[in-house]
């Protein structure tokens, strides 16, 4: 489309500006709110006095630092475990012919469609039986159901696209399948693993239902649960300034990550999936 008249160009840019404002305003508003003083939070648009009071309170009034560490640990562990399991399984799934392979891939795809609520009670049983209730390990285990099928699927797809000749050379050298997986494929798969790692990390970082159900004490909560359950001194006042401060802290690194890696994410979103 090429704008034919100045009026049309202006209209078009107004539309673009509206899209940008619509997409970014809630986050900008959270930043503005988080910098206001507690008493002035509902008054006016801009803060009369910029203060970091909300940020200070967030870390002094509750274990928010622990919550951030919990989220980091869980998300990192989930990413690493799912990539390791998926990478090892991707070789036979992408390269070998065997009975049941198709059914297996279908089952993996099927699991990715599971609603979380359908496994909640059973996972709770398993987590309690293993003594992992109210622990980070329990959350890591539960989160695997969300990311493992995706990781296996995408890595299997990427592996299929790697030239067979490379592998043949290694076979002639007498390397076994496990060594081939680790020495031939792993380096070539690095970009795919980075994309999968990022998306699994974000999924685990954002996960709410399991984290809400399988933790009990505030020090074991992940960030989304902590933010959802921030309460004021009394039941009647919600500390919005503090909630917005928490929201900004959690979101800034994610936005930075996404903007730096945006090309890769867009590619990853449309990588290895279903053909219509």
């Amino acid at each position: 489309m090429s704008a034919k008249s100045p009026a049309r160009a202006v209209g078009f840019y107004l539309l673009v500006a509206a899209i940008i404002l619509y997409a970014t305003f809630p986050f900008l508003w959270a930043i503005i709110t988080s910098l206001k003083e507690g008493s002035a939070i509902g008054a006016g648009f801009w803060p009369t006095k910029v203060t970091l009071q909300n940020y200070r309170e967030l870390f002094s009034e509750q274990p928010f630092l622990a919550n951030i560490v919990n989220s980091l640990v869980v998300a990192a562990a989930v990413s690493l475990v799912s990539i390791a399991l998926a990478l090892i399984a991707a070789y036979p799934l992408s390269r070998l012919r065997f009975k049941g392979r198709r059914a297996m891939l279908l089952a993996i795809l099927g699991v990715s469609m599971f609603p979380q609520i359908a496994v909640l009670a059973g996972l709770f049983e398993i987590i309690r039986a293993l003594g992992l209730y109210n622990s980070l390990s329990g959350l890591v285990l539960a989160n695997l159901i969300l990311v493992l099928p995706f990781a296996a699927w995408v890595l299997t797809n990427f592996m299929r696209d790697i030239a067979v000749e490379l592998e043949d050379a290694a076979i002639v050298d007498g390397a076994g399948p496990v060594r081939i997986a680790l020495s031939v494929f792993a380096p070539l798969m690095a970009p795919a693993m980075a994309a999968v790692g990022l998306l699994t990390f974000i999924t685990a970082w954002n996960e709410f239902l399991f984290a809400l159900t399988f933790t009990l004490t505030p020090d074991k909560r992940t960030v989304p649960v902590a933010i959802a359950l921030i309460t004021g001194a009394t039941a009647y006042e919600t500390p919005w300034g503090r909630i917005m401060a928490a929201s900004v802290i959690v979101t800034l690194p994610l936005i930075a990550l996404v903007l730096i890696l945006q090309r890769r994410i867009v590619a990853g979103l449309s990588a290895g999936s279903v053909k219509g």
């Binding site: 997409a23 809630p26 090892i88 469609m113 609603p115 609520i117 496994v119 299929r160 979103l269 449309s270």
Partner: protein, 319 residues
């Protein structure tokens, strides 16, 4: 987690297709190692997906409570009670309405934004980056941001509307049943539209310019070009995106739970089931509700797979 769906180039020769060139010693070794390599993935999937699902389905036929481990078989009693519960029926209707309206709006908005982004203009990268922001924000955080914007006393939405004189009194967005539903839909649309827009954009960029030029030579108007050329060409990619979004919307929990809790007006199937399971500790009854959510989603997936005969890339067998 949404996987996505650009059609891929033709598949290269897979290992098993060049079996003739393979030393047989390796063949044997690979066959031996195969199950060892698959085992970790399969065992974990059975532990976190297979077994819990079987438990949920089997518990749904019992009167189990979290506090009392010994339960007895009650047949379909839970399901009968579920169908008779007006709160469940409301939750099902809420879920369907939410899914239908939010996915429709996301699709329309997503395509519209993708068309804007597809135009040759300066600042396209900036707009695309801005679009990624709602996608990157954790769902719970976006729900809290909007809860604050929609706050009746201090919310910026009421502040703006009163400033331009559209309303005289602050509106309690999340308290009124209809407005609460509209609000949760609006938040979901804000969060998920970028996903649709990016996928629609990817599809748009595969359409060659020549197609448009010949249509323009024939004197076709913008609307005709859109409905006759653009839409049919991106329909396949859109359909898949719509299915993924619909499946997400049917199991929705976090946005609504954070915005309006378990209130009846916006309660969905997942919220209802979790309330029964966790708050009321009624494992049998809650499992029946959870099983229903699973069945509804499974049926939709089955229909989609059979109707569209989705060709799944890695499934292509060599034979």
């Amino acid at each position: 987690m949404p996987g996505a769906m650009a059609p891929r180039a033709s598949a290269p020769a897979a290992r098993y297709e060049s079996a003739a060139t393979k030393p047989s010693a390796f063949e044997a070794q690979a066959a031996r190692a195969k199950w060892l390599m698959l085992a970790p993935l399969l065992v974990v999937l059975l532990l976190v997906a297979g077994w819990p699902l079987i438990r949920t389905i089997s518990e749904s036929f019992t009167d189990a409570y979290l506090s009392s481990p010994d339960s007895k078989f009650v047949g379909l009693d839970n399901y009968v009670a579920l169908m008779q519960d007006p709160r469940w029926r409301r939750a099902v209707l809420n879920t369907l309405a939410f899914a239908l309206i939010s996915v429709a709006l996301e699709t329309i908005l997503g395509v519209a934004i993708a068309l804007v982004l597809n135009a040759n203009m300066p600042g396209r990268g900036l707009t695309r980056a801005a679009m990624l922001i709602p996608w990157a924000i954790p769902t719970v955080v976006s729900a809290k941001m909007w809860a604050w914007m929609l706050n009746d006393l201090n919310g910026v939405v009421n502040m703006m509307l009163m400033k331009i004189g559209l309303i005289a009194q602050p509106i309690a967005w999340l308290a009124d049943p209809w407005l609460a539903m509209a609000s949760v839909i609006a938040v979901d649309v804000w969060k998920a539209t970028p996903f649709m827009a990016l996928l629609a954009l990817a599809a748009l960029q595969t359409i060659p310019d020549e197609v448009y030029e010949s249509a323009k030579l024939d004197g076709a108007g913008a609307w005709t070009i859109f409905t006759r050329i653009t839409l049919p060409l991106i329909a396949a990619a859109l359909t898949i995106a719509v299915i993924f979004r619909a499946l997400d919307a049917l199991r929705i929990f976090d946005v609504i739970y954070v915005l309006t809790g378990t209130t009846r007006a916006t309660s969905t199937m997942s919220i209802y089931a979790r309330q029964q399971l966790v708050e009321f500790q009624d494992v049998g009854f809650g499992s029946a509700a959870a099983t229903c959510v699973f069945l509804i989603i499974a049926i939709i997936v089955a229909i989609v797979v059979t109707v569209r005969r989705v060709d799944v890339e890695p499934l292509r067998s060599a034979s």
